[in-house]
């Protein structure tokens, strides 16, 4: 029997009528197939890949990434699902370690992907998170990072393309405990048709996080007549000596950009397609992995299929 599980909770609530405080996701916990768990321990000379394929109506998989002091590791998680799949990733980043996690959705229309990531960073460690939401299924993602150690950092890059009735529901919370910690969150994407997206991004400067910096930026290209976008960028601050910034730009193709394309013989529709693909292709290239790029290209198809 399905029950509503509460995910993607804002760290501090706001007006309920906005529908952003949390998400209730119907899930059949009793009939969820456990696909097991894996542990990756750094160092790893080559990137570690997980092609996670859902099984049955509901399935779940757990990945643990452990990076002891002064090690580094790159992990690819590729989500293939045609029904409901939950993936839970836990990262422990030891002192001066570097963990790169690249998550790519390669899901089918009508599927549901529930992604949960939790990470803990010791001094001078760094997590680089890339989320490429290329799949056509609904995508729910709840990510948390605790920058506990002094000098630790998180860089998160999120790209998406919402199509048809797709739901993209994202929550990323960074708690900055240590001194001189850094967070940088960039979310960028496009919405077509009747796609719905929520992005909640929170930078929380805890007391004692002196010298820390946090930046958050979101750009949303609205392309469909029935699209819906909700953006909730929070900065919470209990420390004086910090700098936090967030910005958001939401809208259709602006006249200046359109003029740029048209002056090069590219029409509005093609320009929109190019920009809709751009956020995902840029991240796939940044991931430095040909397979990742191939998945994105497969999901996006040719320009005319975007």
């Amino acid at each position: 029997m399905k029950e509503n599980i509460i995910i993607n909770q804002l760290p501090t609530r706001t007006w309920n009528r906005l529908g952003v405080n949390e998400t209730a996701l119907p899930w059949n916990i009793a009939e969820t197939t456990d696909l097991g768990s894996d542990t990756v321990t750094a160092p790893q000379a080559e990137p570690v890949r997980f092609d996670i394929q859902g099984e049955g109506d509901y399935s779940c998989r757990t990945i643990q990434i452990e990076a002891p002091a002064k090690t580094s590791v790159t992990v690819f998680e590729i989500f293939h699902a045609d029904r409901a799949l939950a993936v839970d990733t836990k990262i422990t980043a030891g002192e001066s370690s570097v963990v790169r996690l690249i998550q790519i959705s390669d899901t089918e229309e009508g599927s549901t992907l529930k992604n949960h990531m939790e990470s803990d960073c010791e001094a001078n460690s760094r997590i680089e998170l890339i989320q490429i939401i290329a799949g056509k299924g609904d995508f729910y993602s709840d990510s948390y990072c605790a920058l506990r150690g002094d000098g630790s950092s998180l860089k998160a890059d999120i790209g998406y393309l919402g199509r048809k009735e797709q739901i993209i529901d994202l929550n990323l919370v960074v708690d900055q405990f240590g001194k001189k910690t850094e967070s940088e969150i960039n979310a960028s994407g496009a919405l077509k048709d009747s796609a719905r997206k929520i992005f909640r991004g929170t930078i929380d400067f805890k007391k004692g996080s002196a010298g820390s910096v946090g930046n958050e930026q979101e750009t949303v290209l609205m392309l469909g007549d029935d699209v819906s976008n909700k953006t909730v960028p929070l900065i919470l601050c209990a420390e004086e000596n910090v700098v936090g910034n967030h910005g958001a730009t939401i809208g259709s193709l602006d006249d200046e950009t359109l003029f740029y394309f048209e002056s090069r013989g590219i029409g509005k529709e093609t320009a929109e397609d190019i920009l809709a693909r751009a956020a995902l292709e840029r991240l796939a290239r940044a991931a430095g992995d040909s397979e990742a790029l191939a998945i994105v290209e497969k999901q996006l198809g040719g320009t005319e299929n975007v």
Binding site: T12, R13, T14, W15, N16, L18, G19, V20, N21, K179, K180, F205, K207, A210, G211, V220, M222, L223, G224, D225, D226, V227, S228, N229, K230, T231, V232, P233, L234, I235, L236, C237, A238, E239, E240, N241, V242, V243, G244, N245, H246, G247, A248, T249, I250, G251, S252, D254
Partner: protein, 471 residues
């Protein structure tokens, strides 16, 4: 950035002007609490028309059925069973200061209201506890057909139908628990009607003073600016500090008709035992403009988010605000806008300052409805933390349902730049003055929008807040 810095000690505001208490010799003080009998009694005391009696009781029922909000600052210290919802001063409303009882008149003199009236206002309403004690409008303004009167007179006089038509239609008792409370126990406030095409070149002002200990103030302000007319309305408020909670749950409803313009300015300086749970809303029709200018300095807990509904095509709103949260204060402020018409625009520009353990939260929502094509919105909020005992949070939300919109948002949080302080000190300023100047400059988005006298008062408030010894 250095890990630790030499700290400046900053004193709290000298509130002596605001903290003077008058002896309570009220004509009537309702028993504390909130029951149907109390609401009924209040209605009788005010000689309400039948529809208002029923409205109050219906609002009470809604209040009792509604939960407290599960977001925002804690209001645990507020117990409605210990609030007197109606306190009538021992005087009738006057239109000449000479006839106002001496102690009440002295209080308003100290607050500078009669002087401001003589110098720069078209009309003044002064509320003391639950009722207006003074209301007057200049003859030449009245001659243009401008109506500026107390709500009770409007409710029963020649504007009764107009009040019935508009009263709590924009902010209904179903809106939230404290709107329902307001509907049940409202008293006092002002009614303003500016006829078509009339432009008031100088502002009207209402001032609300809550003197009674453990009491609530629930004034209702209803303003209708008719087609092509314009008005600047100024609202001020203060109270002496007590060791028990006081409550302010006023309600402001603004109707801005086609091509009309309304500026609504507020300098809020309630005492720091006050729970300020106020609701303000404007409905703006085609080509109309609402401008909010808001300075929040007082209150123990404040929740204030003026809302603008841009219903008409080409309507627009601007919100300019500053919030200063000091010791013992939790001020949750911001604004809300709904873009419903086509080619509407909104602009929010806020500053918040936290010090001495104060908590300042900027909270906003921008909603663009599906049919609101051509909507433009820009939100800019900046927060300044003066120490690490304080908190400053920014909680904006945007809900955009049309592709044909241009929405921008930016927020920044930080501390006073050491370089800026050093620069000013190198030119002969003390550190204290340098920091005060920087904070005043930080808040100049509001002060430059106020009439000169009020801008000076606001800058004085900031300077007093910043005054202290350096250590």
């Amino acid at each position: 950035m250095a890990d630790t810095k030499e700290k400046s000690y900053v004193e709290d505001i000298d509130r002596s002007v605001y903290d003077i208490r008058d002896e309570e010799h009220d004509a009537y003080r309702m028993q504390e609490g909130l029951t149907p009998a109390i609401v009924d009694q209040l209605s009788k005391e005010k000689n309400d028309p039948v529809w208002m009696q029923q409205f109050r009781l219906q609002s009470l029922q809604i209040y009792n059925e509604m939960p407290l909000p599960d977001w925002g600052p804690s209001i645990e210290g507020l117990d409605i069973d210990h609030i007197a919802t109606y306190v009538r001063p021992n005087t009738k409303m006057q239109n000449d200061w000479k006839n106002v009882p001496q102690d009440i008149k002295d209080t308003f003199e100290r607050l500078g209201i009669p002087k401001a009236e003589r110098k720069s206002l078209a009309g003044v309403g002064a509320q003391y506890d639950s009722e207006l004690v003074y209301h007057n409008v200049r003859d030449e303004v009245a001659a243009e057909g401008v109506v500026y009167t107390d709500m009770e007179s409007a409710l029963k006089g020649e504007y009764a139908d107009m009040v019935h038509k508009y009263f709590m239609k924009l902010v209904t008792p179903h809106d939230h628990k404290f709107a329902a409370l307001h509907g049940a126990v409202w008293s006092g406030g002002s009614f303003v009607y500016v006829p078509k095409g009339v432009h008031l070149s100088i502002p009207l002002q209402s001032y609300f003073r809550l003197n009674a200990k453990g009491a609530g103030q629930f004034e209702h302000t209803l303003i209708i600016v008719d087609e092509g007319a314009s008005l600047h309305f100024i609202e001020g408020c203060s109270a002496p500090k007590y060791n028990v909670a006081n409550l302010h749950a006023g309600c402001v409803e603004l109707f801005v008709k086609k091509n009309a313009h309304l500026r609504y300015s507020t300098i809020e300086n309630w005492s720091k035992n006050m729970y300020n749970l106020n609701t303000k809303r404007a409905l703006v029709e085609e080509g109309g403009t609402i401008e909010w200018v808001s300075g929040s300095f007082g209150s123990h807990v404040g929740c204030l988010y003026p809302m603008s509904i841009l219903k008409g095509d080409n309507s627009r709103m601007e919100f300019t605000g500053v919030t200063f949260a000091g010791a013992g204060q939790n001020l949750d402020t911001g604004a809300k806008v709904v873009h419903a018409g086509k080619n509407t625009s909104s602009y929010m520009n806020t500053r918040s300052i936290s010090k001495s353990g104060g908590i300042s939260t900027f909270r906003s929502s921008v909603v663009v409805e599906k049919n609101a094509s051509g909507a433009k919105s820009s939100v800019s909020c900046q927060s300044l933390m003066l120490d690490s005992e304080s908190r400053s949070d920014t909680i904006p939300a945007m809900d955009i349902r049309t592709k044909d919109a241009s929405i921008g948002h930016e927020a920044k949080i930080g501390s006073i730049s050491d370089d800026a302080v050093f620069y000013l000190m190198s030119r002969g300023m003390s550190e204290e003055d340098a920091r005060a100047l920087i904070v005043s400059g930080f808040a100049d988005n509001v002060s430059k929008e106020l009439p000169l006298e009020y801008a000076v008062e606001m800058n004085n408030l900031i300077r007093l807040e910043m005054k202290g010894s350096i250590g």
